[in-house]
Every structure is written in C-alpha cells, then in structure tokens.
C-alpha cells in the first residue's frame, strides 16, 4: 500500500471513529430521553397534580412535592439572585481590573462546579444544627447558595458586554454612577441578566443532594418554612429506590416533570440570549 493511501485510510478510520462516537453519544442520550418520556407519560395523570404523596401500596400524586419544590426554588432564587447580581455588578462596574475581582472570579468558578452535596453539608452545619430540626428554609438557603455562582458569572459577563460609550453618555448628562449602573447598564444587559436567572433556576430545580439533609422530606402538604418540606427530586429519589411499583411510577412521572421544566427553562434562556446577540 502506498504511503498516500495508508494516510488516507488512517484518516478515514479516525474520522469514522469520530462519527461513530457522535452517533453513539447522541443515541445514548436519546435512549435516556426516550425511556424518560415512555415511563413518564405512562405514569402521568391528573392525580399527580392534585393528590399528595401516598403511603406505599396506594395511589396518589406529587402535589406536596411540586408545591415544596416551587416554594424552595422561588425562595432560593429570591435570596441568591440579588447577592449574585450585586457581586457581579461590582466585578464588572467597579473593580473590573482590581485584584479582588480576579480572586472572586476564580473562587466563583470553583463554587460553580463544586459538589452540591458539600453545600448541603455546609447549610446543615449552619442552619439545621442551630435550629435543631430540618426545615424548608434551610433547603431554600442551600438552593440559594447554588444560585449565587451562576448569577455572578452571567451578570459579570453580560455587564462586560455593555458598551462603555453608553456609560460615558450617561456620565456626560451628569448621572451619578449608581444610577448609571441601575438605569443604563442593567437595562442594556437586561436580556442577558434574565438569561442568567433562568439558567440558575434550571440548575437548582433538579438539585437533590443539598436538599436531602436540609429540607428532608414531608409526606404531607406543608407550606411551613420552619418544618421539613417535600421536594420533587427528593421524593423521586426516595420513591425510585423503593420496592413499590406505585412509588416507582410516581418517581418516573416526577422525573418527567423536572426534565420538562429544566429543558423549558434552558430553551427559554437560549431564545432570550439569541435575541440579545442578534440585535
């Protein structure tokens, strides 16, 4: 075999391996989504949205878990997002080239991928032990700590994209700096900031590990933040690991709900982001 054809052969072998891995990888992910849709839809019915989590062996729904998840997610974002927004604002608007920004950015990137279960342990230490019991509030706090890094990152990136000439124009009109940031920079970066928020919500809505020992679980309907609170991911975990068929199919239904929510949020974020860049 000539050198040229050997090289061509090697190249096409390597390239087929690449195509193969792409096909295999995408097929694996498609199979997972397929199984989720199949099992999820076959267990999905109206009762899932209207009834409480059942004791083993009887029919029921996921209402208390859905409500618990919504409460803790909303509260977590309400606590975490402003903190992240302000920190990101400082990094982009005040200290863009300062040393503290470099350090915060580095630490924030690490927090972004740090194991969420460790965040759960931290919140357990500072709230559950102090209060003496598990509570929805500590669950929300754990989620808030996961929201912060996502929001810091997107806020900084998005404010950095705002052209300096906008700020200069506002300064020339005599506006003080804090008003320039709030009324000019935030407005210009609004789509990006909302994108970050949606991504943060998507990130925390599927989080299970940090809720296991902060919010724990609750078999009954409860909106009391000072008491243990059910959440979809934790209920899915508990029900899927159980030997009861009813529980397992509820777990699939819950898994479908979470995935649908997360995908909807990330697609929404993506559409907003695309609008921003095409403008």
């Amino acid at each position: 075999m000539s050198l040229a054809s050997a090289r061509k052969l090697r190249s096409s072998l390597a390239m087929s391996a690449c195509v193969g891995s792409a096909v295999l990888g995408i097929a694996a992910l498609a199979i997972i989504l397929g199984a989720l849709l199949w099992n999820g839809f076959s267990s999905l019915n109206l009762a899932v949205f209207t009834q409480m989590t059942p004791p083993p062996g009887s029919a029921g729904g996921l209402l208390n878990a859905i409500v618990g998840s919504l409460i803790m997610t909303v509260l977590g974002v309400a606590i975490g997002a402003p903190l992240g927004l302000f920190a990101g604002t400082y990094m982009s608007e005040y200290g863009r080239y300062s040393r503290i920004t470099t350090v915060v950015r580095f630490i924030n990137d690490i927090l972004l991928s740090a194991p969420s279960i460790v965040i759960g342990l931290f919140v357990y230490e500072i709230t559950v032990i102090q209060m003496g019991h598990f509570s929805g509030l500590s669950g929300a706090l754990a989620l808030a700590l996961l929201v912060v890094p996502v929001v810091v990152r997107t806020t900084e990136d998005m404010l950095n994209l705002v052209p300096g000439s906008l700020r200069e124009a506002a300064t020339a009109l005599g506006l003080p700096r804090s008003l320039i940031i709030r009324h000019v920079a935030y407005k210009a970066a609004r789509a990006g900031l909302i994108t970050g928020l949606l991504l943060a919500v998507a990130r925390v809505s599927g989080e299970t590990a940090p809720l296991l020992f902060t919010a724990l679980n609750n078999q009954f309907f409860s909106t009391n933040l000072n008491a243990p609170m059910a959440s979809l991911p934790v209920v899915i975990f508990q029900f899927a690991m159980s030997p009861y068929k009813d529980w397992q199919s509820l777990a699939w239904a819950g898994a479908l709900l979470i995935t649908a929510a997360v995908l909807a949020l990330s697609i929404g974020a993506r559409i907003l982001g695309a609008q921003k860049t095409s403008k």
Binding site: G25, Y94, L121
Partner: protein
C-alpha cells in the same frame, strides 16, 4: 430692589435643592458601591465558610482517627469505627473509568461537530448537546437503575465475566457474579452524564484554532486526521486538558447519578463489577440515618475530603482554561 432680593432668594433655594440632590446622589453612590463590594466579598466568605464549617464538623472524627481515616477500610456504625478508604477509592475509580470512556468520545463528538458535520446540522446538534448537559443528574440515576443496570446484568456483565475468566489480572478485574449495579455501571452512567460537558467544551476549544493554521496544513496536503492530530491538538492541548479536568471535577462530586446504581458497599473489591461506594453516595445514603456524633462527624469528614479533592482539580482546570482564553485573545 425687591426684585433682586427675590432672585437672590430663589437662587439660594435652588442651591439648597441642588446641594441636597447632589448629597442624595453621593449617598446613593456610596451605598451602592458598598453594597456591591460587600456582595463580592460575601462570595469569598461563602467559600471560607464552607471550609471552616466542614473542618469544624469533621474535627471530632479526624481527631479520633487521625490520618488513618483516609486509608482505613473500617465502616462500622455499631463500634463507631470509620474510615474513608473504600469511599475515596470508589470515587477515584469511578471518575477515572468515566473519563476513560467519556473523554475520547467527547473529543470525537467535538471533531465531528467542527470538521465533519454538515453545516445545517451543526447548530442543532450543538444546541442539543448543550441542553443535555443541563439535565439533572437524578434523571440519569433513575434511568441507570431501572433501564441500564438490568440490561448490563443480563448481557455485558456475564459476557465480560466469562470472556476474561481464563486471563490473569483481567479475570480479577471482571469477577462475577453480575449484580447489575456496581462500580462498572456507575462509571457508564457518569460517562454518559459528563459526555455533553466534555463535548461542548472541546468544541468551543477547537473553534479557537485560527482557520488559517488549518488551511495551511490542508494546503500542503495533510489529511483531516493529520490536521487534527498535528495542528489542532497541539494548539488546543491545554484547553482540552482543562475541559477534561472540569469534567473530572463534576464527576468526582456527582451524587445522584451514582447513588442509584453504586450498591453502597464499604469494601474495596478487585472486581469493578462488584458494588462499591463513593464519598457523595455514602453521604447521600447515610447522613439522615446517622445517629451518634462520631458517625455524623465522619460523614462530614468525607465531605471535607471530597471538597479538598475537587477544589484542586477544579482550580487546575480553571487555570488551564484561562490559559487557552489568553491564547485566543493574543
């Protein structure tokens, strides 16, 4: 005369209002600056707080067991003897195996997306992969337990056990019985889970290569493989390693995808088909049931170990990825 007094008066009033307004602006400015700066510092304190609280919580266990905690295989809630050996071993082995599967495939997908894929499909496939990277890990876990584990138990695992039965070393690595769940299954789930992450980072990294470099190589007659291997790979090497490290950081700390299929056995087996445990799976499975201060403290100590490992892996990854970013800017 009266008119002059009046205009003086008006000017003074205006001056007052102006001074007040300016003072208000200044106050608002300072307040906002302080608010944002303290938020930025709060992010630092957050990390500090995590470390301090983990050290504080794990002090009893680490004081009792010392450095032996890291290697000990004991895990006995009754006699209150605990060791992190099997959990650390399981975490490292599963993450390593997952990377072994996911890294080459992820690079392959990235090459496919940047070089081979028809242009109309590039964006949809790229977007699909990024969306999949956001799917919660519990979904992968539940799929692994109900779908993948039974399939592996009846097909691949018996085949591996019988196929390597007569080959030394490998027969220990693939020793039966086929449980379905275990280290091997957990690695596969984890690999599927970090695949989108590696693929999308690698693609971004590949796209930093200046087209003129590749065009020059194609111009002197290089094949696609030669361009990838000798031009793109050296140019992007640092970024690729950074991306893999980031995925490793995720894999090490991944909890739910692994907890479902790991089997939670505090033993180090030679066979990778056997059940095992990881740090995060141990904490997730046992934390709420732990009674006794030493038990809880040992679990928190496990969390500290995990945090320290992932911290260094993630820090290394960020430094490497920052380097490729600078290269791009040059």
């Amino acid at each position: 005369m009266t008119q002059a007094v009046l205009s003086d008066h008006i000017a003074a009033a205006h001056g007052d209002a102006r001074a007040r307004a300016l003072k208000g602006f200044k106050l608002g400015d300072v307040a906002f600056h302080v608010l944002t700066k303290s938020s930025a510092i709060a992010v630092l304190l957050l990390l500090g707080g995590v470390i301090v609280s983990l050290v504080h919580g794990s002090a009893p266990a680490l004081g009792e067991f010392g450095f032996g905690f890291l290697t000990s295989q004991a895990w006995n809630p009754v006699t209150e003897k605990f060791g992190a050996g099997p959990a650390i071993y399981g975490t490292l082995v599963i993450s390593f195996l997952a990377l072994l599967i996911a890294a080459p495939m992820g690079f392959g997908i990235a090459v496919f997306l940047t070089e081979l894929c028809p242009h109309v499909l590039r964006r949809p496939i790229g977007v699909a992969i990024e969306l999949l990277a956001g799917i919660p890990s519990i979904i992968y876990g539940i799929w692994g337990m109900f779908v993948l584990a039974p399939v592996l138990q009846t097909t691949l695992q018996p085949w591996l056990i019988n196929g390597f039965a007569d080959i030394p070393v490998l027969n220990d690595l693939f020793a039966g019985p086929p449980y379905g769940i275990g280290i091997f299954t957990a690695s596969i789930i984890l690999a599927i889970m970090i695949l989108p992450l590696i693929a999308s980072i690698s693609r971004d990294v590949f796209e930093t290569v200046p087209p003129v470099l590749k065009e020059a190589a194609y111009g002197i007659g290089c094949t696609k493989w030669e361009v990838m291997r000798s031009i793109v790979a050296p140019y992007t090497g640092v970024g690729l390693v950074g991306g893999v490290m980031l995925a490793l950081g995720r894999a090490l700390g991944e909890t739910m995808a692994v907890t479902f299929v790991i089997g939670n056995a505090h033993k180090i087996h030679a066979s990778i088909l056997g059940p095992g445990t990881t740090i995060s799976a141990t904490i997730a499975n046992e934390f709420t049931e732990a009674d006794g201060a030493m038990y809880t403290s040992s679990l928190i100590a496990l969390g500290l170990v995990l945090f320290v490992i992932t911290f260094f892996v993630l820090a290394a990854s960020r430094l490497l990825l920052a380097r490729i970013k600078r290269q791009e800017g040059r």
